[in-house]
Structure formats: C-alpha cells, structure tokens
Symmetry: none
Subunit: 249 residues, 2 copies
C-alpha cells in the first residue's frame, strides 16, 4: 500500500450529542488515530464531552472551530461521508471498503487528509460536500442506511487501520512544489478567481451561488499542485492588472 504516509484527521461537523463526540474519540484511540476536530458543535455539546475510556489524549488535544474551512484548511485531501440515501453533488462515490485502494491508486504522498462526518440528524450539507474531493459511502442496507455517528466513525477508522494506512506520525511540514496544494491555498486562489469573474461579468446574480459551487468542484477536481497554484496565481495577477483591479495584496 503506497499511501502509508496519509495522515488522517477526523472532523465532526455540528454534532448534537456529546456522547457521540466521546464515542468518536474512543474509536479513534482504538485504531490509532489522534487528530480530532469539531466544527460548530451545538452548545453545550462541546463542554459536556467527557473523556471516553482510553481516549483522554484524543479528547484533550481535540479542537473546536467555528467554520469547516478552519478544520480542513491545511489538508490536501478532503473526503466526506454519506449514507448515500439522498442525491448529492456529483462527487465520486467510493464504497468504504474500496477507499484504501482508491487512495493507493491516487498515489497520495505526504498527504494530510480530512474525513468529514455530518450531524446526526442531517449529515453533511451540500455546502460542506462542495469542499470534498470525493465521498465515501459505508455499505449499509438500503432500508436502514443511516448509521449512528460514533459507530460510523468506528467503522471508518477500522477500515483505514485494516489497510494499514494509518500514519504513525503527521506528515513532514516541508512543502514540495509537486505536492498537492492544501485547501487553504485553493480557497485563496478560488477567491481571487471569483473576484476576477465578478469583474469581467461572468457571474450573473441569479445563478451566482450555483455557478460558484460548480466552479469550486471543478477546481478541486483539477488536483492542482503547489506549483500549479503559483503559476495560476501569476496569470491571475496579470489579468487583474490588465482589467484594472487592485491586486496589491
């Protein structure tokens, strides 16, 4: 398995039940995962999260943030989980049991990857899903597709550990030109693109939001490297200059 250096972060988005955060942390500890982030937990969920047995370290080092981007900004690969029971964006849908092979085929090296779980009630929103490179579906029965959050985390951690793709250590912080660009720099690039598109009149008020979701998906699918981002940034700078935009940033 070539993806041995993938370092996983588990991200719980708007969990409602503190027991589930504790359960997720415990499953992570069971299978050797350490990096837990919680996005906008419903109050007072976060405060009530107690150290689950054996998972004290995971809970103690877990971080709560307000926005999804704060949790995935430094990741170069974002995978959302879905029960697959409703229609979603046309992201590639990977059965969980094929995720390790999918990662190996991608040849992700030195990647920091984030695995997202939505709220118990609503799962991940389309906005959340638009930040995902691909979706993973746990192969549940069609008449009972929706899993308990803590159990879903357990099953996913088991599958990743099973394939021996859990990295013991976080990836080296050295950034290579040919490394996949992280979400933070892609968001920055995307914001610049949007400003240019607004300026040249590409975005129409009525379809603006839908177009942006579509474009973000296209940008993610390109799999830009740091080098690509640098090149596109240079091109954007010239276009901004030509059309009289302030690009003094």
């Amino acid at each position: 398995m070539k993806s041995a250096s993938v370092s996983w972060r588990i991200v719980l988005v708007r969990p409602r039940n503190p027991l589930n955060i504790g359960a997720a942390a415990r499953a992570m500890a069971n299978f050797g995962f350490r990096d837990l982030m919680v996005v906008a937990p419903h109050d007072p969920v976060w405060q009530e999260t107690r150290s689950a047995v054996g998972a004290e370290d995971v809970v103690k080092s877990a971080r709560a943030v307000d926005e999804l981007l704060e949790a995935i900004g430094d990741a170069s690969l974002v995978i959302g989980t879905t029960s697959g029971s409703r229609r979603t964006l046309d992201r590639e849908l990977i059965p969980l049991q094929e995720l390790p092979a999918w990662l190996a085929a991608k040849g992700s090296k030195r990647a920091r990857a984030a695995l997202l779980f939505g709220s118990e009630k609503h799962g991940l929103s389309n906005e959340h899903l638009s930040h995902c490179h691909a979706l993973v579906r746990i192969p549940t029965e069609s008449n009972c597709p929706s899993m308990n959050l803590g159990q879903a985390v357990a099953v996913c951690c088991y599958e990743l550990a099973r394939a021996n793709i859990v990295a013991a250590r976080p990836p080296s912080s050295r950034v290579f030109l040919s490394d996949p660009a992280n979400i933070h720099s892609l968001v920055h690039l995307f914001d610049r693109v949007v400003r240019v598109l607004d300026q040249v009149g590409y975005l129409k008020p009525k379809s603006r939001a839908a177009t942006l979701v579509k474009l973000r998906r296209v940008l993610l699918d390109l799999g830009l490297t740091n080098n690509d981002v640098r090149i596109v940034g240079g091109i954007l700078a010239q276009i901004e200059w030509k059309i009289g935009m302030d690009n003094s940033e």
Copy 2:
C-alpha cells in the same frame, strides 16, 4: 467466498447499558443482520432498551434468555470476541479481518453461527469462552484495546457484510462523470489561453517559448474533462470581452 450462506446471530452476554443494546441493534440493521439475543441482561437494562432508529424490527424480535446455552444451542459455530489484552483459553485467535477467509477455509455451509460479545466491563468470562470454537480479535491498538460495545458490534457486522459485498461483486468499474477532453479541444483551448496571456502581458519575449512548454504540460496534467473545457471556455470568453479582444470565432 463461501461464507455467504452463514447465518449470523449476535449474542450480547450480560450487557449493562441499555443504550448499547439499542446501538448494537442499529448496527445490525445497518448491515443486514436480524438475529439478536441477549443473555442475562442486568436489570432493568432489557426493559429500558428503546428502539434505535431503523432497528425497530431487530429490537422487537430480539430475545432475552437466562443462560448462554439457550442462545447458542442451535448454532453450529460459536465465535467469541476479545480485545486480546488478557490471557484466555487456548482457542484459535483470528484477526477480525481474516474471519471471512477463515470461514471460507472451514467450508461452513448453511451454518448458523453465533458471535458473542461480553459485558462492557469484563468481556466474556472463561466459562463463556469455553463454548467458543474460536475467538475473534478486532485489531485495536495495544494502548487502547477495549472497544465500546455498540462500536465493536458495528465493526464486526461491517466486516462480515464487507466480505459478502466483496465476494458478490467484481471490483467496481470506475465511472467517469464526464469524458476526458480530447487533444484537439485541449489544443484549441490552449491557443485561446495563449492569446489572452499575450494580451495581458504575461508572456515575456525572452522566456515565452519555455513558459508555453511549461504551461502546456500543466494543462495536460490537469486531465480536463469536456465539461471542464466548456466551463473554462466560457470564462475565457468573458475575459476576452472585458479586455477588448475579438472573440468572434
């Protein structure tokens, strides 16, 4: 995989927390298991077990019995689960991920098999273990080996369902959301990009040729689909219009 005809019963021995029985039932329903038996639940655990979401049928048809033998009497194969952290009887210890292959090698046909889970606190006793043909160990970390009961059931059900899925279906053929763009349309797109870059002053005479070679390589590496080409074409048209280029082609 020959184990498709094995019929599994999940047996919880002396569970203490009614939430865990409900959680076990839900995980079973998620992965298509229906046969749940509970041995000597601590009072009033059994009465408090509420129907977990989507697992009403499993809970309703579950049976509580006083003695383990009542739960496994009609089974031809009994497998116990263990965290493997203490010395047990000299039963064969099978890593969970190898259980399907182990079953297939045994050639168990039309078998009724029982998978036993001990209490949250003490696991299965030596007396319980003495009824097992073999033990299964979930491959947890040695510093945090003990799983939450509901999560352990979920992971085991997932592995058993996974084996059937993997056995029943050939590897999924990759689905392309859109066909890759052909070279002709990429060349056409590249020519338009180059004209825009000339117009906005990105290409310098001295480095022009080298830059174009680099950019073409970047464009190829992106693996654009026909859909991507269409979108980028639309964006280019607006930029061409804004900077006063003739794009009447």
